[in-house]
């Protein structure tokens, strides 16, 4: 049987670049966030990131800040996020699921307990934007023990030394932050993106997925030409906020993004 982390790597072995939606658990409420994620999975997502809300999300722009605040008001916490994963598995979602959240709630929950309960619930790994490899040794050990992915991020500012550090520690895939900035929709992709991806690929053989600032099929297609995966978050939150039927709107959006990505030859 494959480890959860292997299923993450395998999600990138399809003919086309992988598509990974992000959505905040508990927004606009617990049940609807699950319905939205089910719809995103049904529309053909290769993997999903489930946001665990935090009171002070300093890598996030206004959209995800807002969804986090509402989710917290709805009583979301780490335990409920783990329940949500188990519930999605019960409802037949089989693609890899990564929990994305800030470090302090995980620390408060207990890293050992968090990793153990996450693997039991059916999670495949974690993305923790404020936990660089230098500070991650405890959680890294736990993840290795349970076969979970601990996904590190790289940014356009990352030096060669830091890229090499992540190359040594990467598991599952590496998350490339497309720009210097917080999450949120942007009109254009940064001009330096392809040079950045190339620079990372020189040192890292894991799949590379790009996130931050991607919200349209055209942007997804452009990123798909150079990277192995595309991550979209804020746009889905905006759709969920504005649509009468959030699950349907998000499912349709994911479908359109994947259609655009499928016009790509594999990078």
């Amino acid at each position: 049987m494959n480890n959860p982390v292997d299923l993450v790597s395998n999600a990138f072995t399809g003919k086309h670049p992988a598509f990974m939606p992000y959505f905040t658990l508990g927004y606009p409420d617990y049940e609807r966030s699950l319905q939205i994620l089910e719809a995103c999975a049904a529309a053909g997502s290769d993997m999903m990131e489930l946001g665990m809300p935090f009171s002070d999300p300093l890598a996030d722009g206004p959209t995800i800040q807002h969804s986090s605040q509402i989710a917290l008001q709805n009583g979301m916490n780490v335990a409920r996020c783990l329940e949500a994963i188990a519930e999605l598995r019960t409802r037949g979602v089989t693609i890899p699921l990564l929990l994305m959240g800030y470090y302090n709630p995980i620390l408060a929950y207990g890293e050992t307990r968090f990793a153990r309960e996450a693997v039991d619930a059916g999670a495949n790994g974690f993305i923790i934007p404020d936990l660089p490899p230098e500070e991650a040794s405890t959680l890294e050990t736990e993840c290795q023990q349970h076969g979970l992915a601990l996904t590190y991020l790289l940014a356009p500012t990352s030096t060669e030394a830091r890229i090499k550090l992540v190359a040594k520690k990467a598991s599952g895939f590496v998350y490339l932050v497309s720009l210097t900035g917080v999450t949120g929709e942007r009109i254009q992709l940064p001009k330096t993106l392809s040079e950045f991806v190339k620079r990372v690929r020189h040192h890292i053989h894991h799949p590379l997925a790009v996130g931050f600032g991607i919200s349209t099929p055209v942007q997804a297609q452009q990123v798909g030409e150079i990277a192995d995966g595309v991550i979209v978050g804020s746009k889905l939150i905006t759709l969920a906020r504005e649509a009468d039927n959030p699950a349907e709107a998000c499912g349709t959006f994911v479908h359109n993004m994947i259609t655009a990505l499928h016009s790509n030859e594999k990078a």
């Binding site: 300093l58 302090n104 620390l107 934007p129 991020l153 356009p156 210097t180």
Partner: protein, 400 residues
């Protein structure tokens, strides 16, 4: 010369660099610049020159004669950081970091501010050095520290209102970090307290350590002795660590930090990280591992203090370490006690202290009567209180 290329990133278990990857290279660059300039004579000369001729250092150490008499116990001295240019100790760090930023080729400065003292100090340093300055400030703080908002604007800074979360210092720091993440290539984040990711806690302490160095010379001149007790207020803890640092090796000197107890620890409306066992425990906020006020789910707690500068959920990591080592003791004063101390210092010494500093004065008033009249207490009077007049007048009955 073999200067070290890195500094220790932790104080015992505390500190570290819990930040998004985008900032990791910038923190490394900052650490490198800090180390090389600390050992650079030109940099040190320029800074010392400005501290002497612009800030007005050394600041005096005043004997508080009437307050001492009133307390009928230990002799109370006040280290007069309120007399530093721009009205608080914050300028020591702001000038140091602004000079450093310029040497790093960064001409845009972002800063957070709570009470506005750090914002004013940063705006002052930027005006002096001709740099662009953006200050983030919570809307609650903007309304309670209006004079400082006006001062920052006069000094040419752009003040950006932050209306998220508790709308105070914590949220201002969130927004300043988001700005820095976005503009890291040409922007320096001029963090105002001894907190945040490494190297800030060390760097801010070192720029503030001049407070303790001067104090040692001055008290030896006045009393031919080091003090028995040093008292300073602790928000993030930069004035306290700047005063304590010089005396850490003098084990006979008692070091006391005073946190804001707001309307009382039991009320839950306070910013006393060490005092409230229910919500104060180690965690990560704004890039460092330290004592943080948080709920059982690890969400950061809302804080309260009459003093905007102490109204923050985390404490600088070196203070947590000093507390673990039992080298420093941390206590607290309520809003009410700080306001009483504020009034007493006005009437007894002709000094209007910042409400932050009034928390330290309140502790001195509690302790002095318990000590003999040969003992010496030094209070770090970290800032002046003009900015707080509205708050004070609203909460006190002042005879008209």
């Amino acid at each position: 010369m073999n200067a070290p290329t890195t500094l220790p990133g932790k104080f015992g278990a505390y500190g570290g660099q819990f930040v998004p990857e985008v900032l990791m290279p910038a923190l490394g660059e900052l650490e490198h610049a800090f180390i090389s300039n600390t050992n650079d004579h030109d940099f040190q000369n320029e800074l010392q020159q400005l501290l002497a001729t612009y800030v007005g250092r050394p600041t005096p150490l005043s004997f508080a004669g009437r307050l001492t008499e009133h307390c009928n116990g230990a002799k109370i001295y006040l280290k007069r950081e309120d007399l530093a240019h721009s009205g608080a100790h914050k300028i020591n760090n702001a000038l140091g970091q602004a000079l450093l930023a310029r040497r790093m080729g960064k001409e845009r400065i972002v800063a957070e501010t709570g009470a506005g003292q750090h914002g004013v100090a940063t705006a002052t340093a930027c005006a002096l050095l001709g740099m662009q300055c953006v200050v983030y400030m919570g809307t609650v703080d903007i309304s309670r520290q209006a004079p400082n908002v006006a001062r920052m604007k006069l000094l040419g800074a752009e003040v950006k209102a932050v209306d998220n979360g508790s709308k105070t210092l914590k949220d201002a720091i969130n927004e300043a970090i988001r700005d820095w993440v976005t503009n890291v290539e040409d922007t320096h984040y001029l963090l105002g307290s001894a907190l945040g990711p490494h190297p800030y806690p060390t760097m801010v302490r070192d720029f503030q350590a001049i407070i303790g160095r001067e104090t040692r010379e001055q008290i030896i001149e006045a009393e031919n002795s080091v003090p028995d007790t040093i008292i300073a207020c602790v928000g993030g803890g930069s004035n306290a660590i700047g005063m304590f640092h010089e005396f850490i090796a003098d084990e006979e000197v008692e070091l006391i930090g005073v946190e804001a107890a707001g309307t009382g620890i039991i009320s839950g409306k306070h910013a006393a990280r060490f005092a409230d066992k229910k919500i104060g425990r180690p965690g990560v906020l704004h890039g460092c591992y330290t004592f943080v006020l948080q709920d059982t789910d690890g969400q950061i707690a809302l804080t309260h203090s009459v003093s905007a500068g102490l109204d923050y959920a985390a404490v600088g990591p070196e203070h947590t370490h000093l507390r673990d080592l039992k080298r420093a003791t941390y206590t607290h004063a309520t809003d009410h006690e700080a306001l009483d101390a504020f009034q007493l210092l006005c009437e007894m010494e002709g000094i209007i202290p910042a409400l932050e500093s009034a928390h330290a004065v309140a502790e001195a008033i509690k302790r002095a009567p318990e000590m003999n009249n040969e003992s010496i207490i030094i209070v770090n009077l970290s800032g002046r209180g003009d900015k707080d007049l509205d708050t004070v007048l609203n909460s006190m009955e002042i005879p008209s």
